[in-house]
């Protein structure tokens, strides 16, 4: 019990004392995860919508693949990312290993199937006549998807929230691809692991609590957007 209280205390001191290292780690965590989520949304939401709407051969198999991707173990993603991005790997020339870009790539790979799968399910749950109604009003395919997504905004934002949650909390892939390098690729999750390994449990708890708080704030913002439509119902 003392641990946790001590952790709280330390967390507040570190955060509000504007401890340079902690702030750097925090900024990097948010930057990488928010950017990765954003890219994953740009890919996943339209992709999931189109797959839901169009008919094409092997549709069921593709959906099964996406659903499998939703449960992809992040550490496995990290492993493959390292293999591809290492000097000897096919993408070694990018020099993204042990750098934020590599971490963003790994997180995009983790978040995209989740966001795609949830968007897919959200669009599929809409009455197909409703989509036809949108077309009947004279919309192009692109316009139809945009209007449809606005209508199911609640579910789409749930997908975004799920995607963000999956990467902000992730430690395996960013540890492997980033290397937990101080000042360069150390994020809240990997820093927590490090402090634990060093035996600094109070700092580890503090970092964990900071992570939770930051995650909560981001999700609060997203939730407000999501639920704002409800006020008018």
């Amino acid at each position: 019990m003392d641990f946790i209280l001590e952790g709280f205390r330390k967390g507040v001191i570190l955060l509000f004392g504007l401890n340079g290292e902690v702030l750097a780690v925090l900024k990097l965590s948010l930057y990488i995860s928010i950017l990765a989520t954003f890219i994953a949304v740009c890919i996943g939401v339209p992709l999931g919508s189109i797959i839901a709407i169009k008919k094409f051969p092997l549709k069921k198999i593709i959906i099964a693949l996406i659903n499998t991707g939703m449960g992809l173990p992040p550490v496995v993603v990290g492993l493959f990312a390292v293999l591809f991005l290492s000097r000897n790997g096919p993408l070694g020339f990018l020099q993204w290993l042990y750098a934020p870009k590599g971490m963003i790539l790994a997180q995009v790979i983790i978040a995209t199937p989740i966001i795609t799968g949830l968007s897919l399910a959200a669009v599929q749950s809409v009455d197909p006549r409703f989509y036809q109604q949108i077309l009947a009003l004279g919309a192009t395919t692109r316009q139809s998807i945009w209007v449809l997504l606005k209508e199911i905004r609640l579910s789409v934002l749930a997908a975004v929230i799920a995607g963000f949650g999956s990467v902000i909390s992730e430690v395996g892939a960013v540890m492997m691809v980033g290397g937990n390098i101080k000042g360069q690729t150390r994020v809240l999750t990997t820093a927590t692991v490090l402090e634990t390994n060093m035996g600094n449990f109070d700092i580890a708890i503090a970092l964990g609590l900071i992570l939770l708080t930051m995650s909560f704030i981001v999700n609060l913002a997203l939730t407000f957007i999501q639920q704002s439509k409800d006020r008018q119902k």
């Binding site: 900024k27 990097l28 954003f38 290397g179 490090l194 060093m198 035996g199």
Partner: protein
């Protein structure tokens, strides 16, 4: 709504680019150092690397993994310089042509920790091997790193020297870092081989006591090895050499010898190089 979104995104990317320009400017001088978790967990790694980066204006990507993985990275040419602590493996590494300029430059020591009531009655043993013999004989619980790290390799070497194997039911392999391993030993009241600095930083939290120390076997020597640039052209030979020289310099000596003195009231790391700087 779309406009608000676009503005937010642009602002965010702008903010983020701050990170990248700082790093990109120095992209050219990047050195990949593969080292062990013990150096990182002690906190020594960060201090030395910070100092070097400020001085040399190079970026060091210090990747702390197990000794085993560090050597493997060297074998693949994925690292430019290694800082490890497993002499037998290091020698083999150099012999096989993967490394050049191996220099053993510092050491710290291991201690054997155990429960205060010392069920295997190891206190008073003459050497580390004897301690292990007694633990095996008493079938007392032993907690191992189990991860092919330098510490784990040393532990295996001591078992070999003692000529015994621990009882299968009294041996736990944690597969994680030193601090966690010690905490598991603490929880289960078993014996464990740990480096002194980890022990000191966990002293307040753990119930275990030092049951043996000071044996030659327990001296933990660290070496630097340059990854052979002839074998791996992608290696940043110049950057590695610069870091190599720095770590062997007087500045480095000072930092290493003074490390931890304030916090623990004792010296943790000892300089081994004769003064030829």
């Amino acid at each position: 709504m779309t406009k608000k979104l676009v503005v937010c995104v642009l602002a965010f990317l702008l903010f983020g680019s701050v990170f990248n320009t700082h790093l990109a400017a120095q992209e050219n001088g990047t050195v990949i150092l593969a080292t062990t978790t013990s150096v990182q967990d002690a906190g020594l790694l960060d201090v030395l690397i910070d100092a070097f980066q400020k001085k040399a204006g190079l970026i060091v990507k210090a990747i702390a993994v197990g000794t085993g993985q560090a050597l493997e990275m060297g074998r693949q040419g994925e690292a430019d310089i290694l800082w490890v602590h497993s002499p037998a493996d290091e020698k083999q590494f150099v012999d096989e042509g993967y490394g050049i300029n191996r220099v053993t430059f510092m050491h710290n020591d291991f201690v054997i920790l155990g429960p205060k009531n010392d069920p295997a009655k190891v206190m008073g043993a003459k050497n580390a091997a004897e301690v292990f013999k007694k633990i095996a004989a008493a079938k007392a619980l032993f907690v191992s790193r189990g991860d092919n790290s330098g510490t784990h390799k040393r532990e295996k070497a001591i078992w070999k020297k003692a000529g015994v194997s621990p009882d299968k039911n009294a041996y736990i392999e944690v597969g994680q870092g030193m601090a966690k391993t010690v905490m598991v030993a603490d929880e289960k009241q078993g014996y464990v081989l740990a480096d002194r600095s980890t022990y000191l930083s966990l002293k307040k939290l753990s119930d275990l006591a030092i049951v043996f120390e000071g044996d030659n076997e327990l001296i933990n020597r660290y070496s630097l090895i340059l990854v052979n640039p002839d074998k791996f052209p992608k290696v940043n030979a110049n950057g590695a050499k610069a870091l190599f020289n720095y770590l062997l310099s007087r500045d480095s000596k000072e930092i290493i010898e003074n490390f931890g003195k304030e916090k623990f009231n004792q010296q943790l790391f000892f300089w081994d190089l004769k003064d030829k700087l």
